[in-house]
């Protein structure tokens, strides 16, 4: 589906899809989660999350719903669609192949 995304953009897409795979999250929570899990290694400029989120929404991989947060404010919660779940599997597999290949190259030479 669609054109193959370039590495950086594709990686951000993968991170977003993976982050909301378990439960719907709003933009702020997605940014926090990515930061936490990667132990602050992946420092995404937080704003650049939003163009990516809207692009994924246009591709119908994620959908959004306004809901209340635990602090009682209205926020937009993103969750995976069926197509998004498939895309996640594909991109995860791709990533796995790519990283192990790079590992292989880096370690053997």
């Amino acid at each position: 589906m669609g054109k193959p995304s370039d590495l950086v953009q594709g990686t951000l897409d993968l991170l977003i899809l993976k982050t909301i795979a378990l439960e719907p999250k709003h933009g702020w929570a997605i940014a926090k989660r990515i930061q936490q899990i990667s132990c602050d290694v992946l420092q995404v400029q937080q704003g650049s999350l939003y163009p990516a989120l809207h692009r994924l929404e246009q591709k119908a991989w994620i959908k959004a719903k306004w809901a209340e947060t635990e602090t009682g404010r209205q926020a937009k919660f993103y969750s995976l669609t069926a197509a998004g779940r498939k895309q996640l599997e594909k991109e995860a597999a791709n990533w796995g192949r790519l990283s192990s290949a790079i590992n292989l190259v880096v370690e053997t030479s």
């Binding site: 933009g27 400029q45 704003g47 939003y50 809207h54 929404e57 926020a75 937009k76």
Partner: protein, 900 residues
Amino acid sequence: MAWIHKLWIRLRSLFRRGRFAKELDSEIQFHLDELIAENVDAGMSPEEAKYAAMRGFGNSTWLKEETREAWGWMWLEQIGQDVRYGFRVLSNKPGFTAVVILTLALGIGANAAVFSVVNSVLLKPLNHPKAEELVALHQAAPGAAGLADFHNGLLLSPSMYFTYAEQNRTFQSVGVWITGTANVTGLAEPEQVRTAEVSDGVFQVLGTPPEVGRWLSAADQIPRGSETVMLSHGYWQRRFGGDRAVMGRNIVVDSRPREIVGVMPKGFRFVDADFDLIRPLAFDRGKLNLAGFGFHGIARLKPGATIAQANADINRMLPIWMDSWSNGPGQNSHIYEQWEITPMIRPLKQEVIGNVGELLWVVMGTIGLVMLIACANVTNLMLVRAEARQQELAVRTALGAGWTRIVRGLLVESVMLGLMGGAIGVGLACAGVRFLVTIGPANLPRLDEISIDARTLGFTLVVSVLSGLLFGLIPALKYAGPRPSLALRSAGRTISVSRERHRARNLLVVGQVAMALVLLVSAGLMIRTFEALRTVEPGFTDAQHLQLMRISIPYSVIQEPERVARTQHGVLDKLAAIPGMQSAGFVSEMPMEGFEPGWDEIFIEDKVYSADLIPPLRLYKYISPGFLQTAGTRLVAGREMTWSEVYSQQPVVMISENLARETWGTPSAAVGKHVREFSNMPWDEVIGVVQDVHEKGLQERAPEIVYWPPLVRSPFVPVVRTVTFVMRSERAGTEGFLNEVRQAVWSVNSTLPLASVRTMQEVYGKSLARTSFTLVMLGIAGAIALTLGIIGIYGVISYTVSQRQREIGIRLALGAQGGDVLQMVLRQGAKTALVGVAIGIAAALGLTELMRSLLFGVSPQDPLTLASVTALLILVALLASYIPARRAMRVDPAVALRYE
């Protein structure tokens, strides 16, 4: 399914952009608030926390734009912005905008109008079911001298029709038809109506169902069978008020009652012929021979059959035709092989359009050139505008607009101009089409079908957008192209203007001059054609004082040939008594009147003919004594016949000068010689030789003609029953005169209707209609082109002068004389014009070849026309440069240099 969902998302983001934008704002605000809260928790002051959060988040305006772009409608939003911006810019300069829109509206309107004519006449299929299968059975016969001379080629004979209809392998159906006239009596006044006579098969070929009743069927074609007739829609409305009960009623046509069986719908024609009544031809098979080539053949091809196959099929059938029929016992049926009859079947549409196609394409091309010239002028205006807007563009570039965005903005502006011009142009075209239809040549086919339809509107839209792109692209690329900007340098006041910056404008003017030259040369060639036609002696004189009318005396009214002639003679005597009548006579048909003349083999005394060598066909006419003098046709040698010779059936005949010269060398040598129509008839003595007459129009060669007296000893046509009466009088065409003429005719026989009442001038004018129509169209186009060209040259030269004011000031300060400056500017104008003229001449030499068929007596490369148009254009160019040159001469060096 997935794509529907995606489409839904896309459309939602298009139509709810406003709400989406608000949601995005609150989404980002929420994120920032959370970030600030976190920072405050980490111990920052609220102020510090806010700035840290904004830093951490990034440029939110830019990010919002990025996000909106992700919705995929950014291009549309930007074009919307461009359109709004364009409107503001254009309404800021109402004068400029109005001039541009009007120029375009004129150009586009003229193009749309002419295109609607081209579309309706040339492009749209004929108004019959599956019209692409329809063909005209056209035949060439180079061996049949005069018969195939005119555009009809060799028409079909009835026996040919039967052979083709019964033996063919490539047609679904075949039919023949002719036009004629008939007298209808018993309704109101006796009336002469136009008829179409059709064989079986004609309706099956055309396929258009009747509006009421039924077609004429095979049963109606039985000779001396039931007498039936069909009506045209127009005649049905006019005479019977569209009453359906009229089916089955009888009307009296040529004194015979005929039953009305059907009505054909509005707009139905036989090829290009209009009619009132349709009668069956009802050929009597038993009496047919090979000859009688007088019928138009049409056919419907079998699905998939090609014209080449059909031609081969006719070729195969021609020998069958010659074997199956004869011209009588002892006659060689294969003499027609000498005629080299060659089938040249063509699409019926081509037959309908006739020779008007070339004319319309020439007019279309002309109007297209005018449009290009108009575009060139608008481009020039746009260039000047763009120059003035450089600062604005530089500011926009400095503020971060990409050059593609600026070019797009400029193009949106010019396309908007084009569309507005187009919108007004469609309105003009509607009026223009009405105008064209009224001034159009009377013989323009399918005139009633001309309308502005969807295709014309589409064409107009395309022309509008294309012209917008055309005149917008040059300034846009020139001033907004990617280049290290001149930036905000102060308006270039002190920059002397380089040659390079004028190149585009000069090129445009060169193009304009070249195109104007082509148009003026075409118009000039038409003027020369008109002049050449005026010098042709048509074979009659003083056409506006010649009154014509047609009178037919049917067999049912008067049977005996001699009584017919005496009645016609009686009418002449009554006419001669009308006050102001100089003389009167009659003839079987006047030149250019549009009635088919007769052709026959004419045998010449002392020439040896064998069964295999048939004499060439000659056109023949019947004339009354006194006709030649009335029409103003000169007698070259010998004398006219007299009424006593007519009644006593003296074997006398007159011939045309060219026939006399061809046969006996000189006109006077022909007098006293003999000719005859059939090999078994007595000889007729040539008593007079008559000036050549341009029978089919001034552009056509005058044919060789034989003039019989109205009463002849022929077994076939002993007397000519339908004739054109010709009267010479100063009062011709006036109402009072015509009333007296009618009374004179009815005092002889009250049942005779008068038809085709008109002056010879009307007939003559119609034959010139094509030429004068082309002349008017090209004249208008040439005048517009010349005007636009003058404006173009004037604009460029005066703009250059205003830009070079300081330079001229310096020259004058350094001692140049006013005359030098004048010369310098004039030289520039002349140079531009000369280059344009040179290119124009080259183009004209090629392009005018396309209008060769419209010309007469002048070569498409006529040196006189070329030279005078060239001189005119150079003179006009010098005049147009003279005004700005005078201004340049008067530049005050002190004023010009004050600001340096």
